[in-house]
């Protein structure tokens, strides 16, 4: 579904991504893990069109997308649930969800999609007219995810969903991500919470200093000495 080949990207004159190749197949949860500054968010920004790749190719459903503006990419069916949630804090929950359905096709179905999102996140329904900034951290993450689903995406890129959440809520969020996959949404999950991520994902890529240093199915990753030492503290 998503295929990245030999991607290089710069911030100014500093190279952040070095020859990154990555593949996400339909129906998978693919984890992208790595520490702060490894280039995870840069990779996401390049895929969603917010940053231009210097070289390399990005294909979505076999169409090259590396030179498309981000609004076109999201119309094609890639939804990005950004790090730090980036909610429209002074708009209410409903408005936040509605704006998620901005891409042309999604706007037509927004009534139906909204019902669906409320089924996944019943608490958002109760909070409909509340301003987004008055929600708790967990609820805000749910809203960000709900907003991302409103565009009826084929691929959901979820960036650091566990960031700043209580351990119980983190488990809930991961459960929801798993259930989204079971509903047929393909997911690229970017996380620092390595253990939980590897437990729910199908395959994983490990990014260090802008390079992919390991890839494979999650069981292999979990068993690897390097992962144990560097990310799980064992």
């Amino acid at each position: 579904m998503l295929e990245i080949n030999n991607l290089n990207a710069f911030y100014g004159s500093i190279q952040v991504l070095w020859d990154v190749s990555l593949k996400v197949n339909k129906g998978e949860i693919v984890a992208l893990i790595g520490s702060n500054g490894a280039g995870k968010s840069t990779l996401v920004r390049t895929v969603t069109g917010l940053l231009r790749a210097t070289s390399g190719s990005i294909k979505f459903l076999d169409h090259p997308i590396e030179n498309l503006p981000s609004h076109v990419i999201s119309e094609m069916g890639i939804s990005h649930i950004p790090e730090g949630r980036r909610l429209f804090t002074d708009m209410n929950v409903l408005e936040n969800l509605e704006i998620g359905a901005y891409p042309r096709n999604a706007w037509k179905n927004k009534g139906k999609t909204l019902e669906h999102v409320f089924q996944i996140f019943p608490r958002l329904k109760e909070r409909g007219h509340q301003l987004a900034r008055t929600l708790s951290g967990g609820e805000q993450q749910m809203l960000a995810m709900g907003r991302g689903l409103m565009s009826e995406p084929k691929l959901c890129i979820i960036d650091e969903p566990s960031n700043g959440l209580a351990p119980m809520v983190v488990l809930e969020v991961f459960d929801i991500i798993k259930s989204l996959r079971d509903q047929g949404i393909t997911i690229l999950l970017i996380e620092q919470n390595v253990r939980h991520t590897l437990e729910i994902s199908d395959r994983a890529y490990v990014l260090e200093n802008g390079r992919v240093v390991m890839e494979g199915d999650c069981a292999t990753c979990l068993a690897s000495e390097h992962i144990k030492k560097a990310y799980l503290g064992l």
Binding site: H71, F88, Y102, P103
Partner: protein
């Protein structure tokens, strides 16, 4: 007596603004009553030249001019937070369209063309500058007014050998009707924009531009098109208003005061509400005319003081004050029952 006429018509204008805001809300109760009142207000406004003295509708024309400038300014700058100081430029383009072409083509065509030329200018300026943020954007729009003024001045002196131009005049009642028509068209446009997904997009751009881009909003595109639409109305207002002034030169046509006043009026009225800028400019414009004629030396001073007071004590403007009072009354009522 004629002041009373003016005030009644001012109220009618504010009501129209309030009605737009009300019809945007989900609350649909009593809408038939409010819609009926709209018809009444429109009748009052459209028949003013039939029952009011000339002075009254000249006065309301001036108020309408400020209304068009302020409401269209707030339509873009309110939700997005991009403070544009370009209204004087778009207004001036309308004025010069009228000055150059007024003799040759019919009045309504001149007005429309004034709007279209402003629209085009705004598209160009917007495409160039709406990637700028904050202070840079403000500075550029400010500079635009000066740039056009001096360019015109240079052109006029070098090629036409004069500084100013005469404008074909129109009757006071004609100007009034056209201005009123522009304002109503603006209200309808504002309603359509706010109800569509563009309105939501503008709001989200103002709150977090990058997140808006994540949502698949063509951020620059939305900003440019709405900016240009608001310029269209400013240009039309300039084209018709100048037919009252009969003589213009680059300085009077591109008076920077017309860039600042919409900002002040919108803040004064309360930018968080749609009818805030309407209320603000109606009262502000009325006071300006009154103070200008009766206390010409202190009127700008009085403005300054009012503005400082509003910013300090009424951050949400007059409309915010109305809301606060209503909330207080509602609380008291609840406490009693």
């Amino acid at each position: 007596m004629s002041d009373l006429m003016v005030i009644i018509n001012m109220l009618a204008l504010v009501y129209l603004g309030w009605f737009v805001e009300r019809s945007l809300q989900k609350n649909k109760s009593k809408m038939w009553l409010f819609s009926g009142l709209v018809v009444v207000m429109l009748v009052i406004l459209f028949t003013l030249p039939n029952y009011g003295p000339t002075y009254s509708y000249i006065m309301v024309t001036t108020i309408l001019m400020y209304l068009v400038l302020t409401v269209s300014w707030a339509l873009f700058s309110g939700p997005t937070g991009y403070i544009s100081l370009a209204p004087a430029a778009f207004f001036g383009v309308g004025i010069y369209t009228s000055a150059v072409l007024g003799k040759d083509i019919p009045l309504l065509a001149v007005v429309l063309l004034g709007g279209i030329l402003s629209f085009v200018l705004a598209m160009i300026v917007g495409a160039l500058t709406l990637r700028l943020k904050g202070t840079y954007f403000i500075m550029f729009t400010f500079g635009l007014v000066l740039l056009i003024t001096n360019l015109l001045l240079w052109y006029e002196i070098k090629f036409t050998g004069t500084r100013g131009r005469f404008v074909v005049a129109a009757g006071n009642d004609t100007i009034y009707y056209v201005m009123l028509g522009i304002f109503i068209l603006l209200l309808i446009t504002a309603f359509i924009i706010k109800r569509s997904k563009f309105g939501l997009a503008l709001q989200s751009i103002g709150q977090n531009e990058e997140a808006a881009a994540h949502m698949g909003i063509n951020v620059t595109g939305v900003k440019v098109i709405v900016f240009a639409i608001t310029a269209f109305f400013m240009g039309m207002a300039g084209a018709i208003m100048t037919m009252k002034w009969t003589y213009i030169d680059p300085y009077s046509a591109f008076d920077l005061f017309r860039s600042f006043l919409p900002v002040l009026m919108a803040i004064f009225g309360g930018m968080r509400y749609f009818y805030g800028p309407v209320l603000g400019s109606v009262i502000f414009a009325y006071l300006e005319e009154k103070l200008l004629t009766e206390f010409p030396y202190v009127y700008k001073l009085a403005f300054g003081i009012v503005l400082i007071a509003v910013i300090l004590y009424l951050p949400d403007g007059l409309a915010g004050l109305v809301d606060k009072i209503r909330a207080r009354i509602a609380r008291k009522k609840n406490a009693l029952t």
